[in-house]
């Protein structure tokens, strides 16, 4: 199975401070890869590099086997990379409907997008003309995730979907993520709240200080290592 998203030896810096020191990751079609690690490890940076928002200092980025290193976010979005950023990935002053309209830049028509979003998240149909910023946190995250569902991406990058949400809502959101993956999308999930994602992940990678320290099947061994990391082994 060839990887849809591949990062090879990615290095990246924030204002001359190196935060990624050669990250290798591959996500195949239909696969959910969980990227875990302590705060400040560089997980968000990995996703931003993969979406073209942050430039890589060196290394290569491949999407669907094509080298797209250095492409801008817009080109990557059109090539099927969809990043749902940290925080709420919605336009707060636009209505739900206009937020959905903003998903039409990658090819699908407005009608198709609304159809998919509203069947998956019926609550959004009820809130269609409400400003997105006034939705509840869970509803906002649904709207953000709707982009991953409705725009038919090849690669979905999710950053901290669970932030500030109740476990029940998180569980429901991740069910949708699993569903997206079943349609053949390569999904890379960054998550602090490891338990939420390990249930659906096929593969997990642990990022520590800008390096992938371990990766493999999300079995108990990895979990133990993670809890050691979070509970304060020396970083």
């Amino acid at each position: 199975m060839s990887a849809l998203l591949e990062l090879r030896g990615i290095r990246a810096a924030h204002e001359r401070i190196n935060v990624l020191h050669g990250v290798d990751l591959a996500v195949a079609a239909g696969q959910v890869v969980a990227l875990l690690g302590p705060n400040g490890a560089g997980k968000t940076t990995v996703l931003r590099v993969a979406a073209g928002v942050h430039p890589a200092a060196s290394g290569r980025l491949l999407v669907g086997g094509r080298d797209v290193t250095g492409a801008d976010p817009r080109r990557l979005a059109r090539a099927g990379v969809c990043l749902i950023p940290e925080g709420r990935g919605v336009f707060p002053n636009l209505t739900v409907r206009d937020n959905l309209l903003m998903m039409t830049f990658t090819g699908r028509s407005r009608a198709e997008i609304e159809e998919i979003a509203f069947t998956r998240f019926p609550i959004l149909a009820k809130r269609a003309s409400q400003q997105a910023g006034t939705l509840s946190g869970g509803e906002q995250q649904m709207l953000a995730l709707a982009r991953g569902l409705a725009t038919d991406p090849a690669v979905l990058l999710l950053d901290e979907l669970s932030m500030g949400l109740a476990p029940l809502v998180v569980g429901r959101l991740y069910e949708q993520v699993a569903e997206i993956a079943r349609q053949g999308v390569a999904v890379l999930v960054v998550e602090q709240f490891a338990a939420a994602v390990l249930g659906i992940a096929d593969h997990a990678a642990v990022l520590v200080r800008g390096r992938v320290q371990r990766q493999g099947h999300p079995d108990s061994g990895l979990r133990a290592e993670l809890s050691a990391l979070y509970m304060g082994s020396p970083l």
């Binding site: 976010p73 336009f91 707060p92 002053n93 206009d98 309209l101």
Partner: protein, 719 residues
């Protein structure tokens, strides 16, 4: 009744123009976050181009319209977006504001340069040859009808564009979250470009429609925009329907004021100032919030050392003495304002630099100082200078009270409105009595000002006044530096960083703002009085809003946080322009563009040039050989000049070459010393460097210092 309706129709057609211009302003502000002070100036330029094509060159009206609206306006908008705004997009609100103020100032200068302001340029109204038609009891000209139809079309068109099209959604989304627009596969830059093109086109339409009914004058047309700004403020700079409502209020009010205001000496100015008064009122009446999601990058304000400031003050005085003795009499008049305008510019340092309050009415405050001095100090009484400072300070404190609710662009707008009210109305009033006190202003013309009487020594020659102004600038600079080092200065900076954090730390916002406004206005008033002494005769136009803009721009270019920017602004504003005119008289008009261009150059060096100049000259000041050599060298050249051995140009050349050479030499020596220190083992150097302590550990890992309050406040504001 008929008259009432006629004035109503006139009001509505003016309102239609304000609505068109105002909606362009709202469109650009709400989609790009840039408040375009030059919006009216773009309309002005369009009106001039239209005049040139139709009247000047006799081209058919449709051709001219297409050319101006569909070719020139979009091209201009794209150029402005690319060259002026993109470089400062990531900088703070103040820088973006300065860019458009620079554009305003530059466009007015450019228009005056291209189209001689002394030539009258009548522009016919649209369909002037058709008979007006009657609508019930009202008579409507075709021009008025077209104007109103255009406004309605614009209202509908914008509504459809913004809320019914994807481009509209893209534009609104770009304000919300630029990065996310890119992630969605759209192009945020394109959304901005569309907004600028539409905005400029709307300004152009407004300019072309309004020009036939007023005189085609660059600054008047640019400032007619005040009314359109008022309309936009009614819409809180984001609601188009409310902008239209605001436009109707302003348009009708102007028209009825023109029709019904009784004729007397005190009121004609009120009619001109009415839009500005209404703008001020609207700013206060409509609560507003900053656009959300705007990143603010706050810069450090250097803390000057007292020794360095003392040296700087000596340099200022020495510079004044040298200039006063070297320059010829006519040159003394030309370059006289270096120090007095420097004092006015220095008033920006505490106000805009430390406290982050952008005020566009400092020159008006200077005007108050000048008037008080002219009246009370008619025989040079020194106490009158003190009164001038106090009266200006009180006036400044008074603006601060309403302005307390304003910040950022709103404050800039409010103070601009205040400046317009002063120069259009208050300054033009004849002498009047208030509470039994006779108050005289510019006596509807100009008033004379004399030099001060310094304990029996009457200063009245240009050279004496120049030295006096230099001493005042030096003292004021020391005062401002001391302020920065003191507790109040640190509090002001905390206030700039975050008003919320400042209030949380227990600061009294009202008091702090009123004090800093009063202080800055007092300094400006002193500058105004000094300026008046040098001019000998002062009139209201010397202190109007447009005259004040270049001073603000040069001060920003110098760096608002640096005490040295007073001297810098005076020198850079007065010096090069006049020197250029002396060398190349044909450049008379072009040089007025310089401050505007300099402001636009700010995007490259947002900290200003004074801080970098200071770091370049610091080695000379510290060097035990270079400094005495420099002082002695210049003194020797000066003596030669006084003895008429060399002329002024040679003196300038010698001083400049000597200074530059020593600067290079001292810098090289310092580098050598540093290299030696490094070679001798870096341990010593490291121990000398202060330890970096994270904010949350201040007071714990090392003892609490008073300066930490500011650091902590900034940490809170950033987090």
């Amino acid at each position: 009744m008929d008259q009432f309706i006629t004035f109503g129709i006139v009001g509505l057609s003016t309102a239609a123009i304000y609505a068109v211009i105002g909606s362009g302003l709202v469109l650009t502000y709400s989609t790009t976050g840039v408040f375009n002070f030059a919006h009216g100036a773009a309309g002005m330029l369009a009106a001039f181009c239209y005049w040139q094509f139709t009247v000047g060159w006799g081209w058919p009206v449709p051709v001219a319209l297409v050319l101006v609206l569909l070719v020139l306006a979009p091209a201009f908008a794209l150029l402005v977006e690319r060259a002026v705004l993109r470089p400062v997009q990531a900088l703070g609100e103040a820088e973006r504001l300065v860019m458009t103020v620079a554009m305003l100032s530059g466009l007015i200068a450019a228009a005056r340069w291209i189209w001689d302001p002394n030539v009258a340029r009548p522009l016919p109204t649209f369909f002037a040859d058709r008979k007006p038609f009657h609508l019930g009891p009202a008579t409507v000209t075709w021009h008025q009808a077209i104007t109103m139809a255009v406004a309605v079309a614009v209202a509908i068109g914008l509504r459809v564009l913004m809320y019914r099209t994807r481009t509209g959604a893209e534009m609104r989304a770009t304000v919300d979250d630029r990065a996310l627009v890119g992630l969605a596969g759209a192009r945020p830059v394109r959304a901005n470009q569309v907004a600028w093109i539409l905005g400029t086109q709307l300004a152009a339409i407004g300019g072309i429609l309004i020009a036939p009914t007023v005189t085609l004058d660059a600054s008047q047309l640019s400032l007619l925009i005040v009314s359109a700004y008022t309309a936009a403020v009614f819409g809180r700079l984001r609601s188009l329907p409310m902008t239209f409502v605001g436009a109707i209020v302003v348009g009708c009010m102007e028209s009825y004021l023109a029709g019904y205001l009784p004729q007397n000496a005190y009121l004609p100015g009120l009619r001109l100032a009415a839009p500005a008064l209404l703008l001020f009122a609207a700013l206060l009446a409509f609560p507003h919030r900053r656009l959300r999601g705007r990143d603010r990058r706050l810069r450090q304000i250097p803390v000057p050392t007292m020794a360095g400031t003392g040296l700087f003050a000596l340099v200022v005085v020495a510079f004044g003495v040298v200039l006063a003795t070297v320059l010829s009499a006519p040159d003394l008049i030309t370059y006289g304002p270096i120090f007095s305008l420097g004092v006015v510019a220095l008033s920006y340092v505490p106000l805009a630099g430390y406290a982050g309050q952008i005020s566009l009415c400092q020159l008006s405050m200077a005007g108050i100082g000048a008037v008080v001095w002219a009246h009370l100090g008619a025989h040079g009484e020194l106490w009158a200078l003190l009164v001038a400072v106090v009266v200006s300070a009180v006036a400044g404190g008074l603006i601060a009270l309403p302005a307390l609710r304003l910040s950022g662009v709103y404050l800039a707008l409010g103070t601009a409105a205040f400046a317009v009210v002063l120069d259009q109305w208050i300054f033009t009033l004849p002498t009047f009595k208030l509470f039994g006190v006779q108050i005289g202003l510019f006596d509807q013309g100009s008033v004379t000002a004399v030099g001060p009487d310094l304990f029996g020594l009457h200063l009245d020659s240009e050279s004496q006044l120049m030295v006096f102004a230099a001493v005042c600038l030096a003292l004021a600079s020391i005062g401002v530096a001391a302020l920065r080092r003191g507790r109040f200065g640190r509090r002001l900076i905390a206030l700039r960083d975050s008003e919320a954090a400042y209030a949380t730390l227990g600061g009294n916002l009202l008091l702090a703002k009123a004090l800093v406004f009063a202080l800055a206005s007092g300094i400006a008033g002193l500058g105004g009085a000094l300026y008046g002494m040098q001019l000998q005769s002062v009139s209201a136009t010397q202190f109007n809003l447009v005259a004040g803009l270049p001073i603000f721009l040069v001060a920003v270019v110098g760096g608002l946080g640096a005490v040295g920017s007073g001297l810098f602004t005076g020198t850079a504003y007065v010096g090069p322009i006049n020197a250029l005119i002396a060398i190349a008289p044909w450049s008379q008009n072009a040089v007025a563009l310089l401050p505007g261009l300099a402001g636009v150059g700010l995007g490259r060096n947002p900290d200003g040039v004074v801080p970098s100049m200071r770091s370049e000259w610091a080695p000379v000041a510290r060097d035990r050989i270079a400094l005495p050599v420099l002082v002695l060298g210049i003194a020797a050249a000066w003596v030669l000049r006084l003895a008429d051995v060399i002329d002024g140009w040679v003196f300038c050349g010698v001083a400049l070459v000597l200074a530059l050479a020593l600067r290079g030499w001292a810098a090289a020596r310092q580098r050598a010393v540093l290299a030696a220190a490094v070679a001798a083992g870096s341990a010593g150097a490291e121990a000398a460097a202060p330890e970096e302590v994270p904010v949350e550990w201040l007071g714990i890992r090392r003892a609490w210092r008073p300066e930490d309050e500011e650091v902590l406040a900034r940490g809170i504001a950033a987090g």
